[in-house]
């Protein structure tokens, strides 16, 4: 059967990975033509790391980059974190795929609508 592989990665799996491992997993998967859905997205600094590494891997006629869509981060309502001055930003669901195969149609605060095509 022909099709596009869709990997849905749980929050638990992401929690056990370092930032670099996450970025590497994403880029390797996307370069193999997979679409990833991360239950809990990347932190803002991981997002910039992903953009940076994506740029180093862009190769003309081979890889033109990624399409990534995530909801804006939310402020966590965890009182203890706030009291301790810990970072209280909550990352949210994120969809990532090859720029040539994933196209965002519409996005707002709580909806990501995307079109997935075969290579």
């Amino acid at each position: 059967m022909n099709g596009i592989q869709l990997d849905l990665i749980s929050e638990d799996k992401l929690d056990g990975m370092t930032s670099m491992e996450k970025v590497r997993l994403i880029l390797d998967s996307v370069r193999n033509g997979r679409i990833l859905v991360l239950e809990r997205g990347l932190t803002p600094s991981e997002q910039t790391k992903l953009i940076e590494l994506t740029m180093t891997e862009i190769a003309q006629d081979d890889f033109s980059g990624i399409e990534i869509e995530s909801y804006p981060v939310k402020q966590s309502d965890n009182f203890l974190n706030k009291l301790l001055g810990k970072n209280s930003l909550k990352t949210r669901l994120t969809v990532i795929g090859p720029a040539t195969q994933l196209k965002t149609i519409k996005k707002d605060r709580d909806l990501i609508s995307a079109l997935v095509s075969t290579p």
């Binding site: 932190t43 803002p44 600094s45 997002q47 910039t48 992903l50 953009i51 940076e52 994506t54 740029m55 180093t56 862009i58 003309q60 033109s64 980059g65 990624i66 399409e67 990534i68 869509e69 995530s70 909801y71 804006p72 981060v73 970072n87 930003l89 720029a99 519409k106 996005k107 707002d108 605060r109």
Partner: protein, 211 residues
Amino acid sequence: MGIIKRLGINFTWLKKILFKKKTARIGIYGPPNAGKTTLANRILRDWTGDAMGSVSNIPHETRRARRREDVTILSNGSSVVLDIIDTPGLATKIDFHDFMAFGLSEEESKRRAKEATEGVIEAVKWLDELDGVLLVMDATEDPYTQVNVTVIGNMEARKLPLLIAANKVDLPNSSPSRIHSAFPQHPIVPISALEGQNIDLLYKEIAEHFG
């Protein structure tokens, strides 16, 4: 006082350390073609009589970050001294075919694409060196782009000041209110960097947020 004078001790250096007005390093960020360099040029022309760089309708015209130091902006009796960094447009994809659609040759498009990728990396690196960000959004476009979400997320995580310039309000299909409802937690100034619309209001907000 008299003793200090008589001893000939000069405290100018101490005054400089204690009372020197800090220069805020502000990055102008946004996706390609949002009008970052047009805005940087407007700011510099208004306050220094100079310009930052060339502008074009072809994306990724700015492919190297440009820095201008000690730009003093006066507004409502207060002043702020800024180091302004005009950064290349942030993107997650760069395809040289897109440049060919603007009439560039294949060779030129490939070179532009390569330089653009380097420019994005440079823009990302600058994020760590800033005291605040002026995020330029194209008010005619959907504000929920990943670039906007990423820049805003980074500033929020670092608790650094962010001011959004909803640019291109001179165009009939612009909708700054869409940007406001997308990011209500941040100050937004609807402007036209090209025509100078609301630019005084932007200077007032700059002095207030980055001063």
